[in-house]
């Protein structure tokens, strides 16, 4: 329960902090922290425009994505003392595959519109999400290897390593998770959310034709996704050594804040890769995940 409330709290502030960071780095005047939520409220008051080519799939896809993200947020625990509302052995598989279900409907919702733009975004998104999945699986597999438990709620218990190896693991796992979160939420360097050229969009163009309350749900979903990944990262950091409750909550919120600042920082200073190099980049992240798993395996066997 605690983690769900904390995720919701961070989701409220997340997009605002990213926008403020980007504005400060580009020398512009920053908007208010809750500005994205004013946008969402404005969107939900509007009506909708639907294309005659679309069918029920287009209408059901934003609803489905929204519900899935809320369901997935219920699985994330808060360290190993407070398991998530839903927890069982192998729940991280439900986590990943529910996100895959959301992506499935996002892609066919985009193809439903029957325009070339959405098709472009759809096929790029399908390829990149497929190449990025092994990265997350490898981080989870390393956690299973270290702690011997296969449920999210037990995995973030104390890692049985000496301090240096624990720092090694945390550093690399955080690097992979940050990149994975950026790829999944379609941020730089894979996809630029602020580009206005449809030919270069990936995620933005898939939701191009949504309007009104559908667009509001998509925006809420985006910020929820970020805070869910931030929660996993905070759990990994908190797993190194046990602390009391209040300090843990504080560290959790600070980690989410730093993640938001980091996203804003990376967005302001990185350029978007050429589309041909995207698949190479994502495959490198997955390979580094494999290297991490093998290194921890060797360390565990004292080789």
């Amino acid at each position: 329960m605690i983690s769900f409330i904390l995720i919701l709290i961070s989701a409220i502030f997340f997009p605002g902090i990213i926008a403020i960071t980007k504005a400060k780095f580009s020398g512009r005047k920053a908007p208010s922290v809750l500005q994205p939520w004013f946008d969402i409220i404005r969107l939900s008051k509007k009506g909708s425009v639907f294309s005659t080519t679309t069918s029920i799939i287009f209408q059901i896809s934003p609803v489905l994505n929204f519900v899935i993200l809320i369901a997935v947020a219920l699985i994330i625990p808060f360290t190993n003392k407070f398991p998530g509302i839903i927890h069982f052995q192998g729940d991280f598989l439900i986590f990943i595959y529910l996100l895959a279900l959301g992506k499935f409907f996002l892609i066919i919702g985009a193809l439903d519109v029957g325009s070339g733009f959405e098709g472009m975004g759809a096929n790029r998104e399908a390829l990149y999400s497929m190449l990025a999945e092994p990265a997350f699986f490898m981080v989870i597999a390393t956690l299973v290897l270290l702690t011997g438990n296969s449920s999210f709620s037990d995995m973030f218990s104390g890692l049985n390593l000496n301090l240096y190896s624990a720092i090694l693991f945390v550093l690399l796992a955080l690097y992979i998770l940050v990149q994975f979160a950026m790829i999944e939420s379609s941020r730089l360097p894979v996809d630029d959310p602020k580009t206005h050229l449809e030919l270069t969009m990936i995620h933005e163009v898939m939701v191009l034709d949504n309007s009104g309350i559908d667009m509001a749900m998509v925006n809420i979903g985006n910020s929820l996704k970020f805070s869910i990944f931030g929660a996993i990262m905070a759990n990994i950091i908190l797993a190194i050594w046990p602390i009391n409750l209040v300090l843990s909550i504080l560290i959790f919120l600070v980690v989410e804040l730093i993640f938001a600042l980091l996203v804003g920082f990376l967005e302001s200073f990185k350029a978007r890769l050429k589309l041909i190099y995207n698949s190479q980049f994502i495959l490198t992240i997955s390979s580094i995940g494999v290297v991490l798993f093998l290194m921890i395996l060797l360390l565990k066997n004292q080789l």
């Binding site: 009506g47 425009v49 299973v144 296969s150 494999v290």
Partner: protein, 667 residues
């Protein structure tokens, strides 16, 4: 019960006496008797746990023909019967356009072979001594050959059928060789002989003689199942056959190969590491290869055929995990592996037959299988679109349907394996996790393409824009698998327990009811139900909210270019797969044509462009070898003159030569 089975077989020969419509119902009645009798026996065995052994015909070939139904057989019997039922119901409306063209003999032959195929498959799983088994196997291959070449007036269908028949017989040779080798080692000609094979086994990397024997059988069964180097008949036979036959073949006939492999593994007294590693690695390769080849296809049924190869790979991964778990003395992991594989056999037959039925409905109403000519069918054929969507979600292994459940069980097996100590075993498990993740992602890519291009968007050709929905009998045939897909997805614990019943003899001391995965599966089912309910609720709330707002409908934004046909602007199948094609080059041979412009061409004329991919293994390895053999065989074919005098002359010469040689005491 035995007399029923024999009587039904004899009665089926009279199908040829009936008219086109009546022969359908005649065979339907015979099939019903067969299904009910065998299913009754199967359910009896599953519940009571005793094997059913009975003699059908004594002195069939100097030995009685006995059938032996144990739990594994009972499992397969139920699966065969269900798939044949749905396939036969589908066939009625599917074959309707052929009523005018084909003769009465064609129809009767088709239904008769349908019955024979069902009968032969039942006997393949029920008979355990070699001669009866091989007889049933041959009958299965022959009857499926006749079913495949139903549309024999098209030129390349007979060629495909012959290709299929030749490959099946090559596999048959290997099976015979395997059984003969077992006979020479143990003196028993059949599956029982494998139980007596003794060989020293250990956890080293040497190859025992059991391994080579297993390879012999694996080639024979693997040609039927469709493992990687032996798969080349699958992508040709499935599109050539009519859709109910494709659904039947893909749904259950290729599982007969898997049945053979499982039977051998269950009967081997001790499994060793080389067998486990071999199955594991080749299944990983098969799975990834199958789905990579599927993405670049533009024929709907060929795409589905390659996905069958991929799912056979997943079943093989489960079997490999089970064997590896037994070799490393981890019964928990082995149970998860075997249970996942067996459950995936059920799941695959359900959603693959459903997908083939939906694809067949599309072909029936639009007369084309080319993805680039379809589109927008969800408005014209909503039920078919719904069926295809459920099949697509299930085959990508996505919750809340049944594909996720079997992959979940195998994944859990992998993660249990990662927790073990040692270096090699966790590394193998890592490979398995990576392979399954990759296969799942690629399958999602492929099926978003297939569903999106066929059913969504605007129609890309005239036939697609005038399609109509199918009749009630096809809808009923599709509802049968849909029902089980949804039930297995939402109530998985019962089916996991059902599959564990089969494994109880193999792992007698294992606490089946107390493992953690039963709790997880219960949660997965509950989550699935809640998810569907909540999504429906939120959708209803959204509709309510939208009623009070202003909703406008208009055409899709064409970027200001409205003169062209709306369908020309959207992505089609080749463009969707293009960025994957660039990175999956090693798997296929690209025979696309290029567009060339002349030097002085200022205003381009109309050009033609063709994309076509071929399976690399077949194109580079099998076709050149076959062509070389044909070149030499053609020289010998001079002897085949077609005149009856020559054909009498040859044996006459042979007889005279034999007599002379015997007199001279040379032979």
């Amino acid at each position: 019960m035995n007399s029923l089975i024999i009587a039904v077989f004899i009665l089926s020969w009279f199908t040829f006496a009936f008219s086109k419509k009546l022969s359908y119902w005649y065979v339907f009645v015979l099939e019903l008797i067969l299904w009910i009798s065998t299913s009754y026996l199967a359910i009896h065995v599953l519940i009571s746990g005793n094997d059913y052994i009975s003699e059908l015909i004594s002195n069939f070939y100097f030995n009685p023909l006995t059938i032996k139904i144990d739990r594994l057989t009972a499992f397969f019997i139920l699966l065969i019967n269900f798939t044949s039922l749905s396939s036969y119901i589908y066939a009625k409306q599917y074959l309707q356009p052929y009523l005018k063209e084909k003769s009465r003999f064609n129809f009767s032959l088709h239904y008769f072979n349908f019955f024979l195929l069902n009968f032969a498959m039942l006997f393949v799983v029920m008979v355990s001594d070699a001669i009866g088994f091989l007889l049933a196997w041959e009958l299965m291959s022959l009857s499926s050959f006749f079913l495949v070449i139903f549309e024999s007036d098209k030129p390349n269908i007979i060629k495909t059928g012959i290709k299929y028949l030749v490959q099946m017989h090559i596999g048959y040779l290997f099976l015979v060789a395997g059984f003969v080798a077992v006979y020479f080692k143990t003196g028993i000609f059949g599956f029982e002989g494998i139980k007596h094979l003794i060989e020293s086994t250990s956890l080293n990397y040497g190859l025992s003689s059991n391994f080579w024997l297993f390879i012999l059988f694996f080639i024979g069964f693997g040609i039927k199942a469709g493992f990687f180097p032996l798969h080349s008949w699958l992508p040709h036979a499935h599109p050539a056959a009519p859709s109910h036959v494709s659904g039947l073949m893909s749904g259950i006939m290729i599982k007969m190969g898997i049945y053979g492999i499982i039977r051998i593994l269950f009967n081997l007294p001790e499994l060793d590491l080389s067998i486990g590693l071999f199955i594991f690695l080749i299944s990983i390769f098969t799975g990834v290869f199958g789905v990579m080849s599927a993405i670049v296809q533009h024929d709907l049924k060929k795409l589905l055929a390659f996905h069958s190869i991929e799912n056979i790979g997943i079943i093989g991964i489960g079997i490999g995990l089970g064997v590896l778990g037994e070799v490393y003395h981890q019964p928990a992991i082995a149970v998860l592996g075997w249970a996942g594989a067996l459950l995936h056999i059920v799941n695959h037959s359900l959603f693959k037959s459903l997908l083939f039925y939906a694809a067949g409905s599309v072909y029936l109403k639009t007369h084309t299988r080319n993805l680039n000519k379809l589109g927008g069918l969800i408005k014209k054929m909503p039920f078919t679109a719904f069926a295809f969507l459920i099949g697509a979600i299930a085959i990508s292994g996505i919750p809340p349907f049944n594909g996720f459940i079997s992959e979940f069980i195998i994944y859990n097996g992998f993660f249990e394996g990662i927790k073990q100590s040692g270096l090699v075993f966790p590394m193998l498990m890592m490979f398995g996790v990576l392979a399954l993740a990759l296969i799942g992602g690629l399958a999602m890519f492929c099926f978003t393409k297939a569903f999106g291009v066929v059913f969504l968007g605007t129609a890309r050709s005239n036939e697609a824009s005038h399609a109509k929905e199918v009749g009630w009998s096809i809808k009923f045939a599709e509802i049968l698998p849909i029902f089980w897909i949804v039930v297995i997805g939402l109530l998985p614990v019962y089916f996991f327990n059902f599959v564990n019943v089969i494994l109880q003899n193999r792992f007698p001391l294992f606490p089946f009811k107390q493992i953690a995965i039963t709790n997880s599966l219960k949660w997965v089912g509950v989550l699935g139900i809640i998810l569907i309910v909540v999504i429906a609720l939120f959708y209803a709330i959204r509709k309510l909210i939208l009623k009070s707002k202003k909703v406008v409908y208009g055409p899709t934004w064409g970027c200001g270019y409205t003169a062209a046909n709306a369908s020309a602007n959207q992505y089609n199948a080749s463009s969707f797969a293009a960025n994957f094609k660039r990175i999956s080059n090693p798997v296929f041979v690209d025979l696309s044509s290029e567009i060339e412009y002349g030097d002085e061409e200022i205003f381009p004329e109309k050009k033609n462009f063709k994309t076509h991919v071929e399976d690399k293994l077949e194109f580079k390895l099998i076709v050149p070898i076959a062509n070389t053999i044909l070149k030499y065989v053609k020289k010998i074919a001079v002897l085949q003159t077609g005149k009856i005098q020559d054909y009498i002359l040859y044996p006459l010469i042979f007889i005279i030569v034999m007599i002379v040689l015997t007199i001279l005491n040379i032979i």
